[in-house]
Amino acid sequence: MSGLAIDDAAWSSAWRWRSPTDKLLLCLGLVVCASVLPAWPGDVLVGATATALALGPARVPPRIFGRAVRLPMTFIALGTVTAVLSIDDGGIGWAPDAAERAGSLAGSALAGSTAVLLLATTTPISDLLPALRRLGVPAAVVEVASVVYRLVFVLLDSLRTIREAQTARMGYSSLRRTYRSSGALAAAVLTRSWDRARRLQEGLAGRGMETGLRVLPEVLPSSWVFLGATALGVGAIVSVSVALS
């Protein structure tokens, strides 16, 4: 089975064994800094810190991190340009403070995306879900989410293989055939997902499932050093930004 690049990175990151709560606090701290602080120097510091942590101590492969940072770029570029365009009766032109607004908008979006990516490339979702449970999300919802996470990979694998089989038989060779094939593909994946759920149900009943899908998360204890460094680092970013702006 082939996975998703960001998820693969999370499972093999050097921070895999750190407490998910620690990583969540660090990234949320950075995310909040990115949206509250001005673009210079706040967003630049957040982006640089998140990237340095990911590529340095967390040892996320630079290629994966770089590619993932580029993913939201289309939206950010399109959104930013639209936001700073101005329409008046004469037509379309740049808003008066276009450059500055564009910089601050794109800056906080990029910095925020990088901070979320730091979390995503170091923490598998199956480590984050127990944290949701502690935050008060009902067990049933967390269990549904954990099944979604597992089945996403099973279904993606089916999707890719079925699509390859269709392509081999010329399935996507014209617009009409592309639609026909895509419809059959979606239906096949959906029926598969139902079959899978039914058979999982029987397999789990055999292992004593009665009320829910309770599992024992790994013990990943919090590190006071990590939390202290997080507080210091986020504090430093805030003070430097406030001082310089």
Partner: protein
């Protein structure tokens, strides 16, 4: 855990609208012995194992454990499942959690064990299957053979007295088959009675102490040599005679093998054959 005797008598098992898949099947899983359930695709092997595990309620007949009939009540089933575990053929039908360790912890948690005990069961089960190193990996990064062994570990963590495995070697290459068989031997030494279904007659001959052939909606059980040497039975079951018995019989006729039990595989055959020409046994 200890070996216990699981049996089914006069089992009629059917799906709606069709005639029964099995109609009067009787078999015994002798405590501590290796039973291979042999049958062609679609003969009803899986149905039989599902019935023995309690997942499927027979229309008639009874499943017994040390002679005590299984009650298909909530409580009866719960007790049965603590003793008998079934591992399905497709590991993706069993792995519901992306994390290997979390998945294996599911069964022991359902037994109501304290966390420490669950953790040690998870380690024990993964080690018995020689997949302890996969504990921190996600199931979607594992190979098919690894997923199969993790799925078995999920059942083993329940410490079943009887472990039923549906085609545990299907789709595995020779070295993965060898690893799986070695793991099954460890389980047996750990006091689990192991039953596997297969359509690989050579494997059944090599591995099993007893063979149950699923044929014509019923089950014929006996020693491997008798079952796998019975051409009429095998033809009805759409199976083949293992090569070792075919070749062994001829070599015995040629005076090259001693009377008695025929060798069960190539290694046994080589060991039984004379080393040099002209030394008849």
């Amino acid at each position: 855990m200890s070996h216990r005797t699981l049996a089914g008598a006069g089992l009629v098992i059917g799906y709606e609208r069709t005639r029964p898949v099995l109609d009067g099947a009787t078999l015994t899983v002798p405590a501590g012995r290796r039973l291979a359930v042999l049958g062609a695709n679609g003969s009803g092997k899986t149905t039989l194992l599902r019935c023995l595990s309690g997942a499927l309620r027979p229309l008639a007949g009874t499943v017994t454990l040390d002679g005590v009939p299984l009650a298909h009540s909530r409580r009866g089933l719960r007790e049965h499942r603590q003793v008998v575990q079934l591992v399905l053929q497709d590991p993706d039908d069993q792995l519901f959690s992306a994390s290997v360790a979390q998945d294996v912890s599911f069964g022991p948690l359902n037994l109501g064990l304290p966390e420490d005990a669950v953790r040690s069961r998870v380690v024990e089960a993964l080690d018995l299957l020689a997949v302890g190193h996969l504990a921190g990996r996600p199931s979607h990064q594992l190979s098919f053979g690894e997923r199969k062994r993790v799925a078995i570990a999920g059942a083993v963590a329940m410490r079943p007295c009887v472990l039923l495995l549906d085609e545990p070697t299907a789709g595995l290459d020779p070295s993965a088959v060898a690893d799986t068989l070695a793991a099954l031997t460890r389980l047996q030494e750990h006091d689990s009675t192991v039953v596997m279904s297969t359509h690989d007659v050579d494997l059944a001959l090599r591995w099993a102490d007893d063979v149950a052939v699923v044929v014509d909606r019923t089950v014929v059980q006996g020693p491997p040599e008798d079952m796998l040497g019975n051409d009429a039975l095998l033809a009805r079951a759409r199976l083949e005679r293992p090569w070792a018995l075919t070749v062994g019989a001829r070599l015995r006729a040629l005076g090259l093998l001693p009377e008695g039990t025929l060798p069960r595989d190539a290694a046994g055959l080589l060991a039984a054959l004379p080393d040099r020409p002209g030394v008849p046994t």
